[in-house]
């Protein structure tokens, strides 16, 4: 009895399941294949953007060129007047009677040091970099902030890995920029601590992070390190924007003033 019922059920089940599996199998091969065949397309897209960038930069040949590279702080997230560090710096210079200052902001919010490196390696903006006189780099905040951890031990381990790759990436970024442009003044914006007293553990890591950035700035030719931790420490309320992470307009002004003081001295 059992044998008679089980046989048709089994044969039906196995045949239909086999058909399902065969279809799934063919489909998964196609998914994998499709990705490799279509790979030629994006390279063409790159060429187009390269040309447009060349045109736009040729128009701005004269005067002082300021270029901002990096993450959301370079981009100006949180700045209500949407100026960001670049334009605020331009305003400070204009007060000193230097005309013809052009600001180009290539920052992308959310970028980590690895993203910035691939961004530079894509070579789309080489002409902009080679023509800049001042290059402001803000990077690393997202690297540090995106460290995943479960406890203090894993935080320490992951931090060591992250800072190692950060140092390599930053050095590579500097090398790329220097290869394109030997004479520009580079400035690296340090990290501030938006959390104040809440997480002493993270503050310690942040200071270690800034120290490493400083060392890299010291070891390379003509790089200014702009400290922001000290600037923000006693003014978190007014220097942070509503998201309690990015600087406010005042915060950006403070960073820019510090940058200006370091590069130009006090007039």
């Amino acid at each position: 009895m059992f044998k008679k019922i089980i046989w048709p059920i089994l044969s039906f089940l196995s045949i239909s399941l086999a058909i399902v599996f065969i279809f799934g199998f063919i489909f998964s091969i196609n998914i994998d294949k499709g990705t490799q065949e279509d790979f030629i397309e994006p390279i063409e897209g790159e060429d187009n953007s390269l040309e447009t960038n060349n045109e736009s930069s040729e128009n701005e040949r004269d005067g002082l060129q300021i270029l901002v590279l990096g993450d959301s702080i370079g981009f100006g997230v949180g700045d209500k007047s949407n100026k960001g560090i670049g334009i605020r710096y331009k305003e400070l210079i204009n007060k000193e009677e230097i005309k013809d200052v052009a600001v180009t902001n290539l920052s992308v919010p959310g970028y980590e040091s690895g993203d910035l490196l691939t961004f530079l390696e894509s070579k789309q903006n080489n002409s902009l970099i080679s023509k800049a006189d001042i290059i402001i780099i803000s990077i690393g905040g997202n690297d540090l902030n995106n460290i995943e951890y479960e406890d203090t031990l894993s935080l320490d381990v992951n931090f060591k890995e992250t800072i190692k790759s950060y140092k390599e990436n930053l050095q590579d970024v500097i090398n790329i920029v220097r290869n394109l442009n030997e004479s520009a003044q580079l400035a690296i914006i340090g990290l501030y601590d938006p959390y104040s007293q809440e997480e002493p553990q993270k503050t310690r890591l942040l200071l270690e992070w800034n120290y490493e950035t400083r060392l890299i700035a010291y070891l390379n030719y003509d790089i200014a390190y702009i400290p922001t931790y000290e600037l923000f420490k006693y003014h978190l309320d007014s220097y942070l924007s509503e998201d309690e992470f990015h600087p406010s307009s005042d915060g950006y002004q403070a960073i820019t003033q510090e940058l200006f003081n370091i590069l130009n001295g006090i007039y």
Partner: protein, 333 residues
């Protein structure tokens, strides 16, 4: 012919090892899903402790990441290669936020995929070996081969019916793994998660991960894809097991040879990864599923097509040899 297959299927089913396989499955699945539930709970607890009294707020983090990504997308300076992968991440995040699901919450569908992804190298081959190792050699050791061969059917038909029966049971076994792992882990996680979006279709080009043409599928479709690959691997393994079973006259040594091949294959991958010959060994190619997830590959120059071709060659070769040997074998028992 059909009655021969029917006979073989019933023989396979009524042996005690079917119960053994099901028991093994049940034990492993419940153990692993309990473990996953346990670590998940622990992690949540730790995260809540870290952030003080506040509940661990994943939603805030996810929304922040989402707005980050959207800003990034709006920036005109972003390299073209990055756009597709950003769009996919945005779509995934949107789903999780809309449905109020923490992306790291374990679900039944996620677990059953992970289970076979981990099991495809050792556990599933082990089940196949338990199932098939004594298919022919068992007949020799219990001396029933005489009865079987005295029937008025050619030898190749007998072996073919055994092979077809084996494929049928393997097919059912793979789907049992899927159903069982989903149901048992659902009891632990209380969530099916079949509709979650999953990104698949990564490919490695010149050593770096290329995510331009990643496709978004639901977790149920993804599960079907993964299980199809696992099914294919199992069919290949059954053919190889059949060969060993024909060659060797007792089940114990058949199991021993196969387990030795599987385990030494794992070692070879790590210690001899520079040796190009290793990539033509079937054990090295078993891990088909990782081509869909885009994980790191140990040996250069291996792709999904390559592995499938190598596995097919192994299957055809072992079927060919086993039919030849079985046709000519002297039955001395």
């Amino acid at each position: 012919m059909i009655s021969l297959i029917q006979n073989e299927v019933i023989k396979l089913l009524l042996k005690k090892k079917m119960i053994l396989i099901l028991l093994l499955l049940l034990i492993f699945i419940s153990l692993f899903s309990y473990g996953e539930k346990y670590t998940y709970d622990k992690n949540l607890e730790r995260l809540e402790n870290l952030s003080g009294d506040m509940n661990y707020d994943w939603k805030n983090l996810a929304t922040q990441r989402l707005s980050d990504l959207e800003k990034r997308l709006n920036s005109s300076y972003i390299p073209d290669e990055g756009i597709a992968s950003i769009e996919i991440e945005i779509e995934q995040l949107n789903y999780f936020i809309e449905n109020d699901i923490n992306p790291i919450t374990p679900s039944a569908a996620k677990f059953s995929v992970e289970f076979v992804e981990q099991g495809i190298l050792m556990f599933i081959p082990l089940l196949i070996v338990i199932l098939a190792a004594d298919l022919v050699s068992g007949e020799f050791s219990s001396k029933t081969i005489k009865v079987l061969l005295t029937r008025a059917v050619p030898r190749w038909k007998i072996l073919l019916s055994k092979f077809i029966a084996l494929i049928m049971i393997t097919t059912i076994l793979i789907s049992i793994i899927g159903v069982l792992s989903s149901i048992v882990s659902f009891l632990f996680f209380q969530r099916w998660g079949f509709n979650e979006p999953v990104a698949t279709g990564f490919s490695l080009i010149q050593g770096s991960l290329n995510s331009d043409y990643v496709v978004l599928v639901t977790r149920f479709q993804y599960m079907l894809l993964i299980y199809s690959l696992v099914w294919y691997v199992s069919i290949v393994l059954s053919s190889i097991t059949l060969l060993i079973s024909v060659l060797v006259n007792n089940s114990a040594s058949a199991i021993g040879i196969l387990m030795a091949a599987l385990i030494s294959g794992q070692f070879l991958q790590f210690f001899l990864s520079d040796w190009t010959l290793v990539k033509y060994f079937f054990v090295t190619n078993l891990n088909l599923t990782h081509y869909l997830t885009g994980s790191y590959q140990i040996i250069e120059g291996m792709s999904l097509e390559f592995s499938i071709v190598v596995l097919s060659l192994w299957a055809f070769l072992s079927l060919f040899v086993s039919f030849q040997v079985f046709n000519r074998k002297d039955v001395l028992v």
